[in-house]
Structure formats: C-alpha cells, structure tokens
C-alpha cells in the first residue's frame, strides 16, 4: 500500500527530498520498522537516518513514538526534535 513520507529540517536536507511515496512490504508495521526499511534501501538513506535517537515521527499528522503502528496510515513524517517558539 502506498505511503507518503515527509521529511523536515535536517532530515529533509540529508534525505535530499521533502517528500516521497513508498510501498513498504506488509511486514513493516511500525514507525521504527519503516525507518529501518527506508534506511536499508541505499547508503545515502542509511546515512541520513542513522541518528535514530534524534528522530521523531508523526503518523497521519499526530506525534507518535517509534513503536507506533503505521498499519492503514496514509502519511508518515520524520523529523528532529521540534524547536519552535
């Protein structure tokens, strides 16, 4: 199933794109598994997503932990800790 991935801040810069559409395998069911799957595609993605401790995520625009489910999700965002205000 197609999933839109959004990247923000330095994650976007390192990935080289702001957004992409992917079709991960059915056994990829959590955010953490999705990050592993994205990182395993090629060396550049692997490097961009290497710093897992500083990655945060949102599923369908709601902030979630890395163990959150992505089953049925349409949009997943990956980004560093927020620094607004």
């Amino acid at each position: 199933m197609a999933l839109d991935i959004l990247y923000f801040a330095w994650v976007r810069e390192r990935m080289g794109v702001a957004q992409e559409r992917v079709e991960p395998a059915a056994e990829v069911t959590t955010v953490a598994m999705l990050v592993d799957w994205l990182a395993a595609r090629d060396a550049d993605s692997g490097e961009a997503l290497a710093d897992r401790a500083r990655l945060r995520a949102a599923v369908d625009q709601a902030f979630v932990g890395m163990d959150a489910s992505i089953v049925g999700a349409r949009e997943v965002a990956l980004f560093p800790p927020v620094t607004g205000g």
Partner: protein, 147 residues
C-alpha cells in the same frame, strides 16, 4: 475564542491584543512574545513547519488551555519563513476574568508549544547555517503541566 495563525507575515500585536482583550468577561490578559535575539550573532533565523499538522497541534494546545483555565480567549500566532534579529517569532495570549488563570495559561501555552508543535529553527551565524538543537529544559517545562 481560540485564535491560531501560522504565517510568513510580521505579527501585528495591536490586532492580536485587541482580539485578546475583546473576549467576553476579560479582566486579565497575559501574553508572551518570543523574538529573534538581536545581539546573539544570528544574522537570520528561518522557521520551517509541518503545514496542517502545525495548526492542528497549536489548536489542541490552545483548546486544552481554554478548558483547563476557563479562558475567554487563547491565542497562538507563530511566524514561519526567514526573519531578522529583533523580529517576533511567536505571540501567545490568554484572557480570563482574573490574573492567576491568565498568567498560568499563558505559561502553559508557550511551554506546550515548545514541545508539541512541529516547528524547526535554522539560524545563520557568520555565514554558516545550522539547525537549532532542542533544549532539555523545554521537555521539563512542558512536563510540569502534566498532573
């Protein structure tokens, strides 16, 4: 009244204060304004955000504050895009009949915004751009409202 706005234009305090003061039953308005520090060596600050998700997150923060302190108005206005030293990044306001509610709600709005809204700051100093790191104190400040 909940007022959420995210935009690239400068924040107009006259308009924002008029809205906050005009809410029904208002005897007290507490505000917080965050600025690009003019003497910090930063030439420009750029704010990136997650359109759609940002507004939803800010609305949740404002609605939580309005319910918790029975506010007449809760305002969150946040700027995005490039800005210069001295310019306003964020403005929050809480309007209530009495001061304790307004002051506490105002602190809550800015503390929660710092951890719950998808904004990212990139600053340019001496010609070099870098992403601002999150501060540990922000999570602690937001956590003190959980009870």
């Amino acid at each position: 009244m909940i007022r959420i706005h995210v935009g690239r234009e400068a924040i107009d305090l006259t308009v924002e204060m008029m809205l906050a003061e005009g809410a029904a039953g208002t005897g007290a308005v507490a505000t917080f304004t965050g600025l690009v520090r003019p003497d910090d060596g930063v030439a420009t600050l750029e704010l990136e955000h997650y359109p759609g998700a940002t507004e939803a997150a800010l609305r949740r923060v404002a609605e939580d504050a309005a319910a918790r302190w029975s506010l007449g108005a809760a305002t969150i206005v946040h700027r995005v895009g490039p800005m210069a030293p001295g310019e306003r990044i964020v403005f929050v306001a809480a309007s209530a009949p009495h001061r304790a509610a307004a002051l506490e709600a105002c602190a809550y709005l800015i503390d929660r915004l710092k951890t719950d809204a998808p904004f990212w700051k990139r600053e340019t100093r001496d010609g070099e751009a870098r992403w601002v790191e999150a501060r540990d104190g922000d999570a602690a400040a937001a956590a003190r409202w959980e009870a």
